[in-house]
Structure formats: C-alpha cells, structure tokens
C-alpha cells in the first residue's frame, strides 16, 4: 500500500497510479451498473485500480468512514454519491485538501456550491418533470395524478416533487394532483401497503401515478395491474422488474437514468484529474448525465440512445470542460 | 439388622464460591417421625433441603430412599422419589390461579390437554387438608402474604410423598394457621411418613418434633438424636457452639410524664384503618401486636406518607404534621422505618455495605458540587459495623453476600446513621436465629435507653412480651386495646388474645 500523500506530488503522474473508488450511498439497484462500468473504465483508460464499495448503508458518517478507509488503502480518486446532500460538501472538502480528485456522481450537493471537482448526475428535477409529462401524456392530458416518492427530508426528493409539480402546473388545471405520498420507499411492504390503501381509498378518482422511488414503483406496478383500474403508471429507473412491467403493459413508461455513463465517464474524468493531466475549467461544474423516457415502443432500444449520450458526455468533458496539458 | 430409612443422606458436601455450605453432613429420617433440623442462619439447612430436592447438586455424598441409592439431580426426580417440599422462599407464579400454582409440578392432563376440572378438585383437596376454603380459581395476586405461604404448604401436600421437607413454613404465618399445618403433620406421622421440619421457633419444634439434627457452619453437630432427651438450652448451646447466657431483661425506667414524640389521634387511612390512637415517648418501646394481616405494616406506611391519612391527626413532637414521603419523614421529622421485607425493601443486595449504611446520610455528607467523599462514607460505615457487630469481610463487601441477620443489621444501621429519633421496626427477627435475635434484643433496648422512641411491630408474641414497655393490640385495622407490659408471658398472652378475640371470631 502506498502512502496517500504521494498522490499529491507535483507534476503529472501516469494513469496507472490512479486508483478510483466508486462509493454509492448504500445498497440500491440503481448503482449496480457502476460495477461493470467502473471495470470497463479501468480497462479502457488504463487506470491503476478500481473499486466499488456500498457498505455505507445510507448513513453519512458510515459513508465518510468508508471513504476514509479507502483513502488509507491507497485510493486517490473518488466518485461519490453523497448520502446526505447537505453534508457531502464537507466530505469533499476533506478529500480535496488531501489532493484527491473528487467527483460527485448521480447526485449533487445541496445548495449552490459544489466542493467536488465536478458533479455528473441526472438532473433530478428534470427527470421527474419528464416523468410527470409522460404520465400526463398517458392520461390523455387530463385527470388526477398522484406522486409516490421516497424520504421526504431528502433534498433530492424535494427536487423530484418540484419537477412533477412543474409538469402538472403546465396543464393549466386540467390535471390535478393529490397530496404527494412520501416516505414509502423504506421497504417493499410499506410501499405496497401504502399503494394498496391509496387505491382502495382513491382508486376511483386517480387516473395517473408517477413514482420517483424504487419500492413504490415495484409495488404500484403490480397493484395497478391487479386492481384492474385504468390508471397510467410511470416509474423511474430501469430495474429488470420495471422493464418487465413495461413490456407487459402494466407500466406505461419509466424514466431511465444513466448510471453507466456516470460511472464510466466519471472514472475517466477522475483519472484525468488525478493524474494532473487536466484540470477543470470551472471547478464544481454540474453536468446532466441524461434521462430517457422508456415506453413499450423503445424498451428494447433505449439503451443505444443512452450509450450515445455517454459518448457525447465523454467528448463534452474532453473538449469543453477539461483543461488539459 | 439395619433399619430402613425413609430417607438417608450420607456425607453430603456442597461448596459455593467462597463458602463450604455443607461439609460431610448425614441425615436419616425414619418413617413415622417428625425430625427437626436446627441451626443458626447460614448453617446450611436450606442448602441441605435443596440438595435433597434436586435444586442443587451435592459435590459429594449419596442419597438413599427406602434403602435404595437414588440419583436426585432435578426437582422432577425428587418428586418421582416421593419427596415433597415446601421451600423457605415463597415461589409462586403470580399470573396463575391458586389451583394451578398448587398443581404446577404435575399438571393433570387428559388427551394431551390440561384437565382444568381435576386441577380444581385436586387443589381443593390440598387446601382442605389445611382447613382452607380459598377458591382454587382465585388469582394468586389476591392473596395476602400469609395466605400465599399457606398455598405453598398446600402445594407441598399435592403429590403423594413419603418424605415431606418443610423449610421454615411457619416463619410468616400466625400461630392459628401454623396449628393447621401441625395437624396435617401429625396425620402424616400416623400414616408412617417422614417429615423434616426447619424452624427458628423453638417452641414449635419442642411441641411437634420427635428427633433433632443440628447443623453448625455446614457441619452436623448433632445427628438424629431424640429431641426430648435434650433441654431447650442444651439445643441452643449446640446450635451456637458455646453456652449462651440466659436472656436478661433489663430493668427499664420510663418517664411517664415525658411528652409523646409520636402520637396518632383517631387516625383513619386510605387503606382502611380507623380509630387508631397511640403515643410513643422518647426512650420508650411501644409494641404493636396483631395477627398477620391486622394492618400494622400498613399503619407504619401511613405514618411515612406511603399511604394517605384521611382523618384524625398525626403529631410529631407535639405539632400536627402531614408527611408525604419517606424522605420528608426522615429529613423533617427524624422518623426511620426498618421494613419487615428486608431483601426487597430494606437493603441493596448488589451494593457495598458502606453504601447501604450511608444511603440515608449522603445529603449530610454532601459538599460542593454534590461531592461525597468515600472516606467520610467509610468512616461512618465503620462506626456502625463496629457498633452493631456486623460481620463483614470489608466495607466494600456486597450486602447480598451477608447472612440474613447481618443484612437485617445493615437495614437498621442506615437509620441509626441518619440519627433518627423515632424508629419504627417491623418484624425485626423473622427468620433470624436465636443468637442473632438476642443481640437484636440487646440492641433495641440500648437504642431505647439512648433516647429513641421505638414503635415495634412483631407477630412473635414471646418477643413482644420480652421487648416492649407497653403493647398496643391491633385487629382488623383498628386498635383494640393497650396494655402495660408486665413481662409475664402467660398473663400477657391471655390479655392480648382476649383483645384480639374481642372483635374477631377466630
């Protein structure tokens, strides 16, 4: 193991000396594509090391522990999904002060400042907005919509709520929204019970459901199908369960994000920054990694579009965002 | 030809961490005899009984039942061997009914289910043996302490036994109820069963037992000797290990004209007392006698503010007071209460001797920032350990490790440390051996001579007649009379019994 301080030496170092750590917020299906994308990036760009560590278990101090331990183990470039958007800048600052390259992946810190080198993430609000639009489209432009989502006190949840509200507002009152159902992403039972209760209580009036969290989406897909009600459902992410539901028609659409692009391009940029070959033109810049509406029509092909976006992202960094020697 | 014994234990040895509770003790019970097992506190009587009933395993020694060697390693095996037992500690399942508690060791069942009808009829049968008419369906929690003890005894009679072991069954019941037990014991003797009887009440032992064994410090110092070949004093000397001088009742002078420090006038309480009037002067011992359940403990609790006084007045040193808590009783009025329930209410088993004694005086030892120096605590403790002759290895010894008598002294010491002037002492010598009892008597007299006003509650009539200066008699939550103590047992006991029976048909 090498001392972490050696990474901060002056002058450019070879990419082989860069060991990238991808640290998700905790175990979640969203992050699983990072494993393969990270491995690909390591091979394609000749990085010295790559690890994926999800032991943070959705707790900021545990995530800090994980990151610190990785640093002690010689990792010197970090792609991090901050568990707590309001706290993660503090962590970024510490890492930066030790001379590490830091990217905020899949989620940006809350507030205006970003102490990481860059943030490569889905624009959460835009994705939710797109999902809202898709739902409204499926509903035929009018009706009653309800938004299912996760932890209410997470600033990303607030952004999602805003995104859906924006889409609803654009209908000029043709679509009304029931109060948001939050905090039901904790576990599948809670999600399913909440969805079932919702359908039992308001099933007759609801015409569209948009779910911007994982467990509620899984639960809603089956519940809507079983109830036989004519409710259009739009989900988020492209977990196999949801894709299967799109194929069988129980889910109208989903908004896929681009985890592969985040990890792959993120690792590339981290390699460039860590080896001191490049610097960011604007430190802390936010880049949208893209979001994609997936319906029955493009369920088999949307990934091609996404791969293209990933390519574009990489060249965007190379050509406009990075300042290379 | 060797005799067949109903039970023959040979050379039983048992060590607990730090103590040898039994050292090669042998015990022989013949069919048709009532055998007394005597000894001071901690002599090993209960340990012996626990080994015979499979609660503890002996380190060494053998047990034979009806001449055949038996391995007894669990209560079930003891039952199977025909040994019935009433343990010293009360052990009932409070959530169950009386009936179920009686049959707990062998639930009657039919077709895999509990046969509740048999439970009831069996329980009724056992209760009837003791002339008790408690309904077997009564929840255990409804019973008084004495009734609970009687149910324990009934439980010992449930299974068909050849040997019945009774460990201080009469410690907390009145003479009346004890008599019912002895009727059963006599019947068992006639049926050729063997009974082992443990008690600190020597009167009972001499009245009902045939043979005697005595334990001292875990060793048998007298084995299966005919009881009536010994005098009472001889037995005491054997138990104690040296000649114990006869008890000398001191000549106490009471100043009748002195004002009362604690006085109750026409008091009624939330728990049901009525018309209670009594007065204690400083330097005086007022005995409060009554049968178990008469309401004496509750009266003490009302004085301490644990139960409410609803009518009448309570006066301390001449002025009427309302006491709301023990703390107030102690700090404002210097009243202390030595509870009858030492283990549960009197001492802190898991704490050191020093802390147990100092608990009432921390408020006084306290310096700035709540600081209490361990040194002052210990020097205080040392005073009382010496003064009351409490046997401890050091002041940091845990009270749970002391013998019962020494625990009782600790329970008293904390009130002396607090310099109380009025002391209520409730059943001070329950389960305490004869020697320790003596030292307690001396201590109580000494405290009175030093000027304490003492309200002494006891169910032991002999004790009352020995200790008190005056005796108030309580029955069914009211004072039925008050007597000057002549210290003559026969006349006093008759007058007292008359006061009790005046209002109650026995």
């Amino acid at each position: 193991t090498k001392a972490p301080s050696s990474a901060s030496g002056a002058g450019s170092t070879s990419l082989a000396s860069i060991k990238v750590a991808l640290v998700p917020g905790g175990p979640h299906p969203y992050f699983q594509p990072w494993i393969q994308a990270g491995a690909d990036a390591k091979k394609d760009f000749g990085l010295g090391g790559m690890t994926f560590n999800e032991t943070a278990a959705w707790d900021q101090s545990k995530q800090n522990d994980v990151i610190n331990t990785l640093a002690a183990n010689g990792y010197n470039a970090f792609g991090v999904f901050g568990v707590s958007p309001t706290d993660i800048n503090t962590t970024f600052k510490t890492l930066k002060s030790s001379g590490f390259a830091v990217g905020s992946l899949a989620s940006c810190p809350a507030g205006a400042t970003d102490d990481a080198d860059f943030c490569l993430s889905t624009d959460v609000e835009t994705a939710a907005y797109k999902a809202g639009k898709a739902t409204i489209e499926a509903m035929g432009g009018s009706g009653v919509l309800v938004h299912l989502t996760g932890n209410n006190v997470d600033s990303n949840t607030q952004r999602r709520i805003a995104g859906v509200k924006k889409a609803v507002a654009e209908t000029n009152g043709k679509v009304t929204e029931l109060p948001d159902v939050t905090d039901i992403d904790t576990d599948l039972t809670t999600a399913q019970r909440a969805v079932a209760d919702l359908l039992a209580a308001k099933g007759g009036t609801i015409t569209g459901i948009v779910s911007t969290a994982y467990n509620p989406a899984v639960a809603a897909a089956t519940a809507v199908k079983q109830s036989g009600l004519n409710i259009k459902l739009v989900a988020i992410d492209d977990d196999p369960t949801i894709l299967a539901a799109i194929k069988d028609g129980s889910v109208y659409a989903t908004v896929a994000q681009n985890p592969v692009g985040q990890a792959y391009v993120g690792s590339f940029v981290l390699g460039q920054l860590g080896s001191k070959k490049c610097t960011m033109k604007t430190p802390g810049v936010t880049v949208d990694s893209g979001s994609f509406i997936v319906t029955k029509a493009n369920v088999t092909t949307y990934d091609t579009e996404r791969q293209a976006t990933t390519k574009k992202l990489k060249s965007e960094f190379e050509n406009t965002l990075l300042n290379c020697k | 030809m060797t005799e067949t014994y109903a039970l023959e234990a040979t050379h039983l040895t048992k060590s607990f961490p730090g103590v040898k509770a039994l050292d090669r003790v042998s015990l022989r019970l013949k069919p048709g005899e009532v055998h007394a097992l005597l000894g001071e506190n901690g002599a090993g009587k209960s340990t012996l009984i626990k080994i015979l009933t499979g609660v503890h395993r002996a380190d060494d020694g053998t047990i034979a039942i009806d001449g055949r060697d038996r391995e007894i390693s669990s209560p079930i095996e003891a039952m199977a061997a025909g040994i019935g037992v009433v343990h010293q500690e009360r052990n009932v399942v409070p959530e169950f009914t009386v009936g179920e508690n009686i049959v707990l060791s062998r639930m009657p069942r039919r077709a895999g289910r509990v046969d509740w009808n048999t439970v009831r009829s069996e329980a009724k049968r056992c209760l009837a043996l003791l002339d008790l008419s408690i309904d077997p369906d009564t929840p255990m929690t409804r019973l008084s302490a004495a009734q609970t003890q009687l149910v324990e005894i009934a439980r010992g009679l449930y299974t068909e036994t050849n040997v019945l072991l009774l460990d201080e069954p009469t410690a907390s019941i009145s003479a009346n109820e004890a008599d019912r037990l002895f009727t059963v014991v006599r019947r068992l003797r006639e049926q050729g069963k063997a009974v082992l009887f443990v008690s600190h009440k020597l009167e009972e032992v001499f009245a009902h037992c045939d043979t005697v064994s005595v334990l001292r410090d875990g060793k048998a110092v007298l084995e299966s000797s005919p009881l009536h070949s010994h005098s009472r004093d001889e037995i005491v000397d054997i138990m104690v290990g040296r000649a114990l001088a006869a008890l000398e009742v001191p000549d106490r002078v009471i100043d009748d004209s002195a004002p009362a420090v604690l006085e109750m006038r026409g008091v009624a309480t939330s728990v049901g007392h009525h018309d209670v009037s009594l007065a204690v002067r400083s330097g005086e011992i007022l005995g409060l006698y009554g049968l178990v359940g008469a309401g004496r403990t509750e009266l003490a609790r009302s004085i301490l503010g644990l139960d409410r006084i609803t009518a009448g007045s309570l006066e301390v040193r001449g002025s009427a007071v309302t006491i709301r808590s023990v703390r107030q009783a102690l700090q404002d009025h210097r009243i202390g209460y030595v509870t009858e329930n030492r283990k549960e209410e009197g001492v802190f088993l898991g704490q050191s001797v020093a802390r147990n004694i100092a608990v009432t005086v921390w408020a006084k030892l306290e310096r700035a920032l709540g600081f209490v120096s361990t040194k002052s605590e210990r020097s205080l403790g040392a005073t009382f350990v010496g003064d009351l002759d409490i046997r401890v290895s050091s002041q940091s010894q845990l009270v749970g490790e002391l013998s019962g008598g020494n625990q009782q002294k600790v329970s008293l010491a904390k009130w002396l440390a607090a310099k109380t002037e009025i002391l209520i002492i409730d059943e001070p010598t329950v389960g305490i051996d004869v020697r320790t009892k003596r030292s307690f008597y001396d201590l109580i007299w000494r405290l009175a001579d030093e000027g304490l006003a003492i309200l002494l509650i006891s169910s032991d009539l002999a004790e009352m007649v020995t200790l008190a200066d005056r005796i108030a008699v309580m029955d069914q939550f009211a004072i039925t009379g008050e007597l000057d103590n002549t210290h003559d047992y026969d006349s006093m006991s008759q007058s007292i019994i008359r006061l009790i029976h005046g209002t109650q048909v026995a």
């Binding site: 039972t189 209580a201 | 209560p75 509990v114």
Partner: protein, 337 residues
C-alpha cells in the same frame, strides 16, 4: 373453561374492541361507505395478516420474559431465501414458500439455544442474530427484487379469498386460535407462562426454563416464517427491504394488546385487536391523505395511552379489593425487564 372465557372479555379487550368498532365506523362515514366496499375490505385484511403474525411472534417471546429483536430480519431472510430457492435453484414454489416456516423455526431455535447456552441476555442475542440475518439477506438478493411471477401459484393464494376476506388473513387468525388453545390448554403452554411469570417457581416445580425459552424462540421464529410466507404470497416480489418495518410494529401490537414485558402473560385477542387498530390508523392516513409520519405519531400516542390507562386501572382495581399488590404504592416504577 370459564376462567379463560372471562379473561377473553376483560375490560382491556373490551376497550380495544370498542376502538376498532368506532374507528371502522368513523372511517366508513368519512369515506362515504367506500371503506366497506370489497376492494377496501380486501386491502384492509390483506395487510393485516403480517402485523398480526409478527405481533404474535413477539408476544410468544414476551410470554417467557424474552424479546425477539430479530422478527423483521427472520422474516426478511426467510422470504429472500425462499425467493432465491424458487427463482435460482428451481425449487417448486410451494416447497420454497413453505421452507420459510422451517427456516424461521430453525433460526428461532438457534436464538433460543444461544440464549440458553451462552446465558447472554436475549436482547443482545437477538440483536446479534438480527445483524447477521440482515447481512445474509443482503448476501442472498443484493439489490435486486425477485418478482412474484416466479411463484404464481403461491401468489394466487395471496389474492384468494374466503367469505369475502383474504385467505392469508384467515391464516393469521388460524395461528392466533392455535396459539390461544396452546397457551390455555396445553401443558407446554402453561409451562411457558409459568417460566415467564416466575422462573424460580417454575424451576422448583420441575419445569425447565431453558426448554421454555427455546420453545418460545422457536415458535416465535416459526410465526415469523409464517409471516414471511404470507409476504411471499401477497407482495409483488421480495428484496432486501422486506421485513424492514416489522420490528416496531411487532412490539406495538402485543403491548397495546395488554401483554406484560415482564413475562407470564399472553393476550392473543388483544394482540389481534391492537394490530387491527394500527391498521385502521394506516387506512385512515390514506383516506385523509396525511403524511405517513402521522402514523408513527398516532401509534406512539396510542401505545402510551393504553399502557398508562391500563396501569391506572390496575392500581385502582388493586385499591378496590383493598389488597395491596406486592407493595404497590412503594413501587413507583417497575424496573425495566
């Protein structure tokens, strides 16, 4: 037996029953009768099965004076194991789903044995097994959700109904009845209660407290297994989050239902009613469109209210019979555990 018939409708149960009736009626009114239509009824009872089962699972350990912090993780682990057995190892759906019961019981047996052999407090033992099982559950499924389409036949059971009420609810009720009979009419059941009520007395009566503890934990594990089976039959799939919300509700039901933490008592009807009340709160939340955090509020308040009320009632009753219950007025508190 008239004693238990009497206790069946003790005032505690009666209060709970009244709350259920009033609550359901109120919901019926606010929903303009919608609460009583068949979809609502089905939904209500479908999601009542698991709370009842885990409440009973906790109650069995409380009966012997133990706790089971691992209820949720036993449920989560067994359901994920069944999911993996069926989807990856090709085990037939019914065998896989019923394996929940066996595995649950085995885990319970391990819990009980650990408590007995190591003499470590059950709180800590089940805390440790909880952690272990959470790890194992994650190890089994990672972050994916195994869809219930893999066990259609079992899943069909989750939607089947009998007399207009879901079969899985009847399963929970059947378990409650079996437990009730076991606790009031079998010798083993009485022995468990004796061990819980006073272990020393039980020991002296020849009852093995060790055996009681092991049996209680095993039955508790088994009931968690049944709850996990019911989850398999009613959830759209299983993933690492299953069981995550069981722990607190498993305590809420028996405690509101009147089970003493100190052991020695059970309240099966009370537990079922209490679970129903919590479920009513849940339905009301959906009906009134309140944030889910309200449920926590209400449940917290109800737990406190019920126990405090029960306590005051006990004190009053004790006073009425003028027989102090073991120095009740000195006991300002019961020591924890």
């Amino acid at each position: 037996m008239n004693r238990s018939a009497a206790s069946f409708f003790t005032s505690q149960n009666f209060t709970l029953f009244a709350i259920v009736i009033v609550g359901a009626a109120a919901l019926g009114v606010t929903s303009h009768g919608g609460f009583f239509d068949s979809i609502s009824v089905t939904t209500f009872f479908t999601f009542l099965a698991v709370p009842i089962l885990i409440g009973l699972a906790q109650m069995v350990t409380l009966a012997v004076g133990q706790l089971n912090l691992a209820v949720g993780s036993i449920g989560g682990f067994t359901s994920c194991l069944a999911g993996v057995l069926i989807s990856s190892l090709g085990v037939s759906p019914w065998v896989g789903a019923l394996s929940c019961l066996v595995v649950g019981a085995v885990v319970g047996l391990i819990n009980g044995s650990l408590v007995v052999f190591t003499r470590i407090n059950g709180f800590i033992v089940t805390l440790a097994t909880m952690t272990i099982l959470l790890g194992a559950q994650y190890g089994l499924v990672g972050t994916r959700t195994i869809s219930s389409t893999k066990w259609e036949s079992v899943y069909a059971l989750g939607r089947a109904s009998l007399l207009g009420i879901p079969v899985i609810f009847w399963i929970a009720i059947a378990m409650a009845i079996v437990l009730r009979l076991a606790f009031s009419h079998t010798v083993t059941g009485r022995h468990l209660l004796a061990s819980g009520g006073n272990p020393i007395a039980a020991g002296l009566a020849g009852i093995s407290n060790d055996r009681s503890v092991v049996i209680a934990h095993t039955v508790s594990g088994l009931l968690c297994g049944v709850a996990s089976f019911v989850s398999l039959a009613s959830l759209s799939g299983v993933n690492q989050s299953v069981g995550g919300d069981w722990l607190l509700s498993s305590f809420a039901a028996p405690i509101i239902g009147g089970v003493a933490l100190t052991g020695g008592s059970v309240a099966i009807f009370g537990t079922v009613l209490a679970a129903t009340i919590v479920r009513l709160v849940d339905s009301a939340r959906a009906e009134l469109q309140l944030a889910p955090s309200w449920v926590n509020f209400v449940v917290g308040a109800v737990v406190l209210g019920t126990v405090a009320l029960g306590r005051f009632r006990a004190v009053r009753a004790a006073r009425r019979i003028k027989q102090p219950v073991a120095g009740s007025s000195v006991t300002i508190v019961e020591s924890a555990q």
